[in-house]
Symmetry: C2
Subunit: 346 residues, 2 copies
Amino acid sequence: MDARKQDILLAIITDYIATAEPVGSRTIARKYRLGISPATIRNEMADLEEMGYIEQPHTSAGRVPSESGYRYYVDYLMKREELSSGEEKLIRENYRSKVKDVGQVIQLTGQLLSQLTRYAAVVMSPRVGPSAFKHVRLIGMGPGRAMMLVVMDNGSLHHRMVEVPESITDPDLETISSVLSAKLQGHTMESIKMTLIKEIYAELARHRNILDLALDLIREGLTVEPGDKIYLGGVFNILNQPEFHNVEKVKTLLSLLEQEEMVCNLLSGGEDAPGVTVRIGNEMHCREIVDCSMVIAPYRISGRAGGSIGVLGPTRMDYAKVVSVVECMTRNLSRALEEMFAGRGT
Amino acid sequence: MDARKQDILLAIITDYIATAEPVGSRTIARKYRLGISPATIRNEMADLEEMGYIEQPHTSAGRVPSESGYRYYVDYLMKREELSSGEEKLIRENYRSKVKDVGQVIQLTGQLLSQLTRYAAVVMSPRVGPSAFKHVRLIGMGPGRAMMLVVMDNGSLHHRMVEVPESITDPDLETISSVLSAKLQGHTMESIKMTLIKEIYAELARHRNILDLALDLIREGLTVEPGDKIYLGGVFNILNQPEFHNVEKVKTLLSLLEQEEMVCNLLSGGEDAPGVTVRIGNEMHCREIVDCSMVIAPYRISGRAGGSIGVLGPTRMDYAKVVSVVECMTRNLSRALEEMFAGRGT
DNA sequence: TGTTAGCACTCTTAATTCATGAGTGCTAAG
DNA sequence: CTTAGCACTCATGAATTAAGAGTGCTAACA
C-alpha cells in the first residue's frame, strides 16, 4: 500500500470517526488538502475498496471503513492522542483522594474511564491468584450460628455464615480459630497436605464435626467465591452514537451486558499481551454484539497480572484517544493497587 | 363515580395496559361485553375525561389513562393477579439453593423480580441500622500494614487496610485486638462513652498512636461505609415497551439509573408504609424520568426495617401482576434474610 | 503513464400529496 | 337515558416527486 493510499485511508477513517457519515472523494479533497483531485481520490478509493479496507453502504454513497480498515488504521496509521493536562490532573486528583479499598479503586477507574472516553467502561477487579492463609476465625453470632472469616495474605477477605452445633461455646470457637489460624497460616490452598489436616484433627478431636464443616467451607469458598467482580458503567454514552439509534440494537447490547459472565469473557484473553489490545468488531468473539470494538489492557499488581480494564464503543470509536486513556488508566490503577498492597510478600 | 363508569375505566386501562394502543368506544363495546353501545360508552368517556381519569392523545384517537386514572385503578379497581404455581415454585427453588450471603440474596431477589415482571428491578441491600460490635481485629499484613476487621452482631462486616508503625509486632496487634474486642463488644456506635475509650487507652497506653488510628477508622468506617448498595437489573426489559422506542428517552433513563444515589432516592421514602406502595409518573419525585412508575415495598429483618425492593416500568405497567410479585418477593427476601441472621439478639 | 475535468447514472433522503380509517361529538329518534 | 346516524378531525402510511450526493467511466491533458 503506497503512501498516498495510506493518506487517503487515514483521511477517510478520521473523517468517518468524526462525523459518522460515509465520506466521499469530494469531502476528502476539500477537507484534507492532499493536493490531489477528487477524481484521483476516487480511483484510489476504488483500489482501497478492492483491498477490503473500505466499503460502500450503497452505490452513490461515500465510503465507510471496513473492519480491516480500522485494523490497518490502528496498527499502522493511528497517532495516539495524548491526554490533555486537564484530564491528567482530573485523574491524579481522583486517585489521590479516593483510594480506600479495592472496590472503590475499581469503581473510580471505571467512572474515569467512561467519563474520559464517553464510551462504556468495563473494569475487572483483581484476580486474587494463589495466595496464602493469613488468618482464620470463627465468631459466634447467636445460638447455632457463626461467621467464618478467612483473610488471605494478598489482602482478600472471605466470609460466610455457618451453622454450628448449639453446644459449641464461644471459647470453643476461639480455640478452633486459633488452631486453624496457626496451622493454615502461610499455606496456600494447594499446599495443604493431608498430614496438616490430620494434625488439625488431632488437636481438635473434640470438635470433629465443626471442623469438617469449616474445612469444607474453606475449600469451597475459596475456589468458588472470587467470581470476578466487574464494574460496568457509562453504557448510556453509547446511545449518543448514531449507530445505536436503533432500539433493537440497544436492547440486545444491554441484555448482554447485564450478564456478568459475558462481560467477563469480553474482557479476558488479553492478559498476556503486554500493552493495549484493540478488538475490532468480530475480533471480540461475540456474535451478538455488532458494530462494536473494545480497547483492553491488563493491569498488574506487584508485577503479577491483576485483571483487565476495557472500553466498549462503536467500531467507529475514537481509537486514538481511547488507547491513550486506557493505557494511562492501567498505569494509574496499577499504581493505586500497588500502594494499597504495598509491603505484601513479593 | 358510578359503577358503569368504573367498568369502563377498568376496561380502558386493562386494554391499554395490554395493547399500548389508545382504546376507543367501539373496542370496549366489542371486547368487554358491558351490554351498552359504543355511543353510551362515548358519553361516559367524555365524563371520565372531564374528571381527569383519561385523556386523548389527539382528536380522533382513542383514550389513554391519565396518571390519576392509573391511580384510581390501583386504588379501587385493580384485582391482584396472583403468581402461577410455576412462578411460586421458581422462587422457592431459587431461594432454597442460593442463599449464602447477603449480597447473593439481594442479587437473586433482583434477578427474580425482573424475570417475573419483565421490567427493571431495584433492590436495596439491608441498612445495617444500629448494631453492636461483636468482634474487632487487626491483622498484620506485612511491614507497616494491617487489615482491620470489624464484625457487627447483625452479621455485617467491615474491613479496611490501615498503615501502622513498623515497630508494631504481630503480638502487639493481637493484644490490641483482644482489648478492643472485649471492650467494644456489645456496644453500639452510639453507646460508646468516653469512659470506655479511656479504659481502652489506659489498658493500651503503649499503643496510643495506633489506637487513635483504629478508633478513628471505626468511627468513620461504620458511619460512612454502608453506602447503600443497590442491585439494579433487567433494565433492558423496559426497552421492549413501545413507549421506549425513542432512544433519547432510553438515554436519559439509563444515565439516571447509573447514578446509584438517584436510584436510592427513587426507592426510599416508602419504608414506613406497611405494604406495597405504587408510585405513578410524577409521584416518583424525579422530573427527568417520564412515563414511568414504580412499585415499591419494604422488607424487614427480625421485625426491623431492612430496606426496600422495587420494580420500575412504564406507567402502563401491569400493576396487577407487579404488585403481587413485589409483595411475594418481600416475603421471600425477609424470610431468607431472617434465616440468615437467625439467632441475633432481638 | 498518471491525473483530472466532465458527464451520465444510481440511489438515498426528504418533502409533498393523497387516501384511508379509526374515533369522536353532536343530534335526533326510540 | 340510550342509541343510531352522520359529519368532521386527524394520524398514518403509501405513492410520487425532486434534490443532491457520490460514483464510475471516458477522454483530454501534462
